[in-house]
């Protein structure tokens, strides 16, 4: 019962802030909505027995990635809403309508009985378990990720150079 109440509160926060990211005109407010969204999502990750992933979500997403977003907004002076004023054309209502339709169609999924969640051991999402599997079963994807991050670093430096 407690879990369902917590889920309902966090789901409400996520729904409101997801709409807020899209509907708000000021990009700084979009970013703050996204931060609130990530925090509520981290709570849901804890409910799903993913403690380590929840911590990583807060540190990496709410911390590093959102700071990068806000830094770029500051750097390009995009905080003023008059910049990039959104024109209202036929595309906007059509897209909102299609999104609503998508949600309504998928709402039918609530009535489908999926398999039950399996009873979890307490140690499923801990650092020990995730680390053990990350460095044994999934070591090649992990190493490929490090190569990807290296390429991203080189690419970011090349992009940031004044003269290419």
């Amino acid at each position: 019962m407690f879990e369902q109440i917590l889920f309902a509160i966090m789901a409400l926060v996520i729904v409101v802030t997801s709409i807020g990211v899209v509907a708000v005109r000021n990009p700084v407010r979009s970013a703050l909505n996204l931060v609130a969204n990530f925090f509520a999502l981290a709570v849901l990750y804890v409910l799903l027995y993913a403690q380590f992933v929840a911590a990583v979500q807060i540190i990496v997403y709410a911390g590093a990635i959102m700071v990068l977003f806000l830094f770029t907004i500051m750097l390009l002076n995009l905080g003023s809403p008059s910049e990039l004023a959104e024109r209202s054309d036929i595309k906007r209502p059509i897209t909102w309508g299609l999104a609503l339709l998508f949600v309504i169609v998928l709402a039918g999924g609530v009535f489908i009985r999926l398999g039950e969640a399996k009873p979890a051991g307490d140690d499923i999402g801990t650092v020990q378990m995730v680390g053990k599997h990350l460095f044994t079963d999934w070591v090649y994807p992990f190493e490929l990720t490090s190569v990807l991050l290296l390429i991203a670093i080189v690419g970011a430096i090349v992009m940031a150079k004044r003269r290419l």
């Binding site: 889920f7 849901l44 897209t95 949600v103 979890a120 991050l149």
Partner: protein
Amino acid sequence: MGAVPISWYLMLSAFMFAMGVTGVVIKRNPIVIFMCIELMLNAANLAFLAFARMQEPLSTQVAGHVFVILVMAVAAAEVAIGLGIIVAIYRLRDTINVDEMNLLKF
């Protein structure tokens, strides 16, 4: 445990994904478009973790967590490169309105 049905998590994930798609289509500010892409990636992460709860041998549940961590690494790389591209375009053209970026369009 007072279980929350897995389908509720999937519904929430689908809603977040729909909002992300909507934002990518209607927004003109590329930074907000990037935020909406993050929204979609997080929707996928939530679906990964929700489905991981349904795996039977408990050790395979960790596979979902590992996937989420890999997705986060890809998202971090994507944001670093993407924001670098935005800054470079702003320096070159003095605007970042995506409707004026039609260099590759015939």
